[in-house]
């Protein structure tokens, strides 16, 4: 401590001087003696010292003192960790002394190798996880044909969509389907169509899948198709159809001669023993109209047919044989 330098000190300087702080805040005796003496010799600095004292004293801090228990517990953890680490170190030091040189040389190489390995793993993960999804949707009143990466083609009916992962296509041919679509699959590995209601597996064939609401129906045109849902599975050969019944079971495959599978692609819609509400739902999807009817009519099962070219003809085809009356109010069609 050089007493002479303090004569030029301002209050701020005093408040920052370590020994001054020790005097003011900690009541350090040695510092106290020094500063009392110094003040006696320099009475002209009394006001600066007083303000410095105030400044140095001013701050208080609200903080939580860690409890003895916390500190002891923490020490025990440190003690344990450092004791474990110590043992192998003591054991190996004498025996490995000559090899430590070699180890030191290997270490950078090993480090680089581990970096390289980490980089490879990261790249692989990115490639696997970065998995763009291709999604193709057909809107209401729309029909689309889409070519999959392996040359298989999908015809997508109105208000339906498919999605798949083009990057992963090579390894798994898998398409997710909402709605109805007709698949023409080129021969190759397993091809899977997944819908919420169930899934269809094939090797190479053409088939139609209809997955709308509660109804799930698959018909096979060529090749062999395996249809499954949580309750069971069925094998389809050409000309056969299976669908879920009221209990959610897949029914035994059956044939319908007058209902060519996937005829909707040519604008022809066939229904066999189907509730009318499903027929109306299809009309709504094809013509962008709203149909209203009574619950009794909606539940009636019919075998019918309509063409997708003209709404009036379609309605006539369906309703006339059943003696149902239609009336139109703008976009809304009432059926009684």
């Amino acid at each position: 401590m050089k007493p002479e330098t303090f004569t030029s000190y301002s209050a701020l300087d005093f408040a920052q001087e370590p020994s001054f702080i020790r005097w003011v805040r900690a009541g350090d005796e040695e510092a106290a003696v020094f500063w009392q003496n110094w003040l006696d010799q320099h009475p002209e600095k009394a006001s600066a010292v007083a303000e410095g004292r105030k400044l140095a004293q001013a701050l208080s801090v609200r903080e939580e003192e860690p409890s003895e228990a916390v500190l002891n517990a923490l020490w025990n953890r440190i003690d344990l960790a450092t004791s474990i680490a110590k043992e192998p170190l003591v054991q190996t030091t004498p025996a490995v002394a000559p090899t430590s040189l070699r180890e030191a040389k290997i270490r950078p190489l090993r480090r680089w190798l581990s970096y390289a390995a980490a980089a490879c793993v990261t790249l692989l993960l990115v490639a696997l996880l970065y998995n763009p999804t291709e999604r193709v949707s057909a809107g209401i009143g729309q029909k689309l044909t889409h070519q999959l990466p392996d040359g298989s083609s999908v015809a997508i009916n109105a208000a339906s969509s498919i999605s798949y992962h083009p990057w992963r296509w090579r390894f798994t041919r898998q398409v997710e389907l909402e709605g109805e679509a007709f698949f023409q699959v080129t021969k190759g590995s397993r091809f899977v169509v997944k819908a919420v209601q169930g899934q269809v597996e094939v090797l190479g064939t053409s088939f139609n899948v209809r997955a709308r609401g509660n109804s799930f129906a698959v018909s096979c045109v060529t090749g062999k198709v395996r249809v499954s849902n949580p309750k069971g599975a069925q094998i389809l050969t050409p000309g056969l159809i299976t669908q879920t019944n009221e209990n959610g079971d897949l029914v035994t495959p059956y044939t319908i001669d007058n209902q060519p599978s996937g005829a909707w692609r040519d604008g022809k819609f066939y229904f066999t023993q189907t509730p009318l509400e499903e027929v109306f739902a299809e009309i709504q999807r094809q013509f962008e109209v709203q149909i209203q009817t009574t619950p009794e009519i909606a539940r009636r099962k019919v075998t019918t047919y309509f063409e997708g070219s003209n709404i009036d003809t379609a309605l006539f085809n369906v309703c006339w044989p059943l003696r149902l009356e239609t009336s139109t109010r703008g976009d809304l069609i009432l059926i009684k």
């Binding site: 701020l12 400044l55 001013a58 939580e64 680490a85």
Partner: protein, 192 residues
């Protein structure tokens, strides 16, 4: 035993030296760490890692004349790293932003009378005038007993910058005290 001797004992592999260092400084480190991370558990983890790493690297650590400074520097680095990691996890906002949150008050003796709620609120507003770095420098100076060289090393500043920062912080504090005094005077006259 001086810091230099204790440090040498640690380097020689004396476990008791590590324990003594822990006993001497853990509480201060804990309080300092809590200023950056309110979560006590996380601070404990940082301190635990700090001491384990210190023990494992004891043969390589450089000599130090102030163990407390060495520990503060290490803990601060560890905390900054932890916080950066957290910030990046939440969002890639500027990772430079660290928060030193010391709940400063003014010593009761200096403000005459009781600290009522109104004055407490005013004091909080006044204290907000201190930047986070100013708070940290004041904390290190008055509550952790550090000099400028040590503060500079801890806050990654050179000696002169540490001095300047401290000077500005105290100037700000003086303004706050003055403002509080005026408030007090007004209240006093209003009572009359």
């Amino acid at each position: 035993m001086s810091d230099l001797e204790r440090w040498q004992a640690l380097k020689d592999g004396e476990k008791s030296a590590l324990e003594q260092i822990y006993r001497d400084h853990a509480a201060v480190l804990f309080k300092y760490g809590r200023k950056f991370i309110p979560d006590a558990q996380l601070v404990e983890d940082c301190i635990q890692d700090l001491f384990i790493e210190l023990w494992e690297a004891r043969q390589r650590v450089s000599a130090t004349d102030s163990i407390r400074k060495y520990l503060f520097v290490s803990l601060r680095r560890k905390i900054v790293k932890t916080l950066d990691r957290q910030v990046k996890k939440i969002a890639s906002e500027e990772p430079e932003e660290r928060h030193f949150q010391a709940d400063f008050g003014i010593d009761q003796l200096l403000i005459q009378g009781e600290l009522d709620a109104e004055r407490d609120a005013k004091l909080k507003v006044a204290m907000a005038a201190l930047s986070e770095r100013q708070r940290e420098v004041l904390y290190l100076k008055y509550f952790a007993d550090m000099d400028y060289t040590q503060i500079g090393e801890i806050m990654e500043l050179n000696y002169q910058s540490a001095r300047n920062l401290s000077h500005r912080a105290l100037e700000a504090l003086r303004q706050i005290l003055l403002a509080l005094f005026i408030v007090w005077l007004c209240n006093f006259f209003r009572l009359l």
